[in-house]
Amino acid sequence: MAAKKDIVMRGSDLAIGYSRGKKNERTVLGKLNFTLRTGELTCLLGANGAGKSTLLRTLSASQPPLGGSLFLKDKPLSTYSEKKLSTLIGVVLTDKTQAGGLTVYELVALGRQPHTGFFGKLHESDRKIIAQAMELVGISHKANNYTAELSDGERQKVMIAKALVQESPLIILDEPTAFLDVASRIEIMTLLHKLASEDNKAILLSTHDIEQALVLADRLWLMTDENLQCGVTEDLILNNAMDDLFGRKGISFDHAHGVYYPIVKGQKQIQVFAGSETLLHWTVNALNRHGYACHILANKDDADRDLPIIETLSPHELFYTSVREERQMYLSFDEMLENL
């Protein structure tokens, strides 16, 4: 397990953006500093339009950097030939393909192209690697199906297998879990985490799925309009780095649960006491949605007589006590919210 973590890619003062000749450059972000190591799953988070895709395109050599230095292993990225690069970086993109008429096996086999000869003939060793990759991502049973017949989640697995057979130390994925349902998202992310730790790959992916990223990423890259912050998930969260990720008012980060929520602008205030963490969470959730700012009571006796109180003892025992000390029992959240 304790495989050596080599640095695969390092950027210092990297500037990314678009260039149409020297005089017409549009820098999206400058001064980026980061490293990618083998054995680590890195998640790139950021708002739409922050430049995540631009960064990924730059790192996968689809577009040149505008400044700074970018090293792949021990040489600048730009010094590698296309052929050599294809054995060092594998990508999974959001691009539309027209490969529906290829079988899963044929599509995964395309990933061997950097290693095969002029006519792309597969040798026994290639076939073995393809079979292993399909097994690893769990798509072997569909090897002879057309890719057009697959679900979005399965298609994503096939593309990951394609990247795997390239046998590159670095795999870059652009929003691999977009369009997937929760179960598939968790499955794909768990798979990627496994590939990083067990196959000692360096994996970088961009995602909007913050929940899964916080759970599984070894490192986070937080991209805002100003900069890129890199670090281990917990360091970043507990040093408040997540707070300004979206740089927008009205959104706040819940440090305890690792989720973003809208800030309640309610005029109404209420005190909440609940029988358990779960009940408290959902009671506050319901009240926030209805415009109440909640004061959470650790102890029922701490209650302030000037504010109404909600006590949730179980999902079927909700008590409302008004400022005039009238106590009312509700049997469900539905009933309670109806009468507030």
Binding site: K96, Q98, G100, G101, E106
Partner: protein, 346 residues
Amino acid sequence: MKHLQGAGWKYGILLSAVLVVLFIANLFVGSVNIPFGAVCDVLTGNETAKESWRFIVLESRLPQALTALFCGGALAISGLMLQTAFNNPLAGPSILGISTGASLGVAIVMLLGGSMMSGTMFQLSGFFATIIGAFAGAMVVMALILFFSTLVKSNLMLLIIGIMIGYVASSAISLLNFFATVEGVHSYMIWGLGNFGGISMDQMPYFFITCMVGFLISFLLIKPLNALLLGPRYAENLGVNIRLVRNWLLIASGILTAITTAYCGPIAFIGLAVPHIARLLLGTSNHNSLMPVTLLCGGVIALLCNLICVLPGENGIIPLNAVTPVVGAPIIIYVIVNQRKIQYFN
């Protein structure tokens, strides 16, 4: 995988057999009624009742069948490459403006030069001028597209540019027609109807070699073509030099379109329809088997069309371009209507 490769061989052998049958049928059937035995005699080198029959079979039907064979293959391969390269099921040599460019070249030769050529296009000098015109026209359009491909990265945009070039060439042709002599317009119209009978046995080697060069380049592009099925960015990541491959693709399909259009006129639909027939037959878009099957299919369809052309027998020949759409259009409609069933473009 095993199954599909098997399908490639199976259809390859089947199509080859059909090809041979159709090729022989093309030697036996023609607008002039020659007895079956007489054709056999000609082919085996025996004496025949009429010397003209020998001439018809060896100097007309044989080159015509060979021309149909190569033309069909060339247009089909060209269409297949353009469909894959431009990521578009409706791409083809005629859509990209290459064959319109060839037509413009011919129009210039026939309509502007018509007055100098005494109007009859089947004079030898006129014939060569036609071929040179078509070749030059196709190559100029191709050079333009190659030039634009250095400026435009998107394949769809490049396709649209190709269509626009085609429109400009068409309007130039209209203009030339408007100012041309009646004889010039007539001979241009005849050329525009398409004809596999334009190549004599003497010219056959040039035609053959040019086609072979085109086929060779095409077959060398099979590996990057497969990568291109995933789109240009994936292909790039698999080590394909996109710009280089795209240039070679355009050159190969340009050569194949130019040579066929030059000798046979602008032949509609084969380039567009045959790759779809091949995909439907094989059930794969893997070029390893798709490319050879498309080539064979192209030959089969062209020989079939040529056979249909001479069906009226003594009453004359149906123009080729009146036949190819009848064969091709239903296939295109089928492709569009059954898009959900046909999986190779999603």
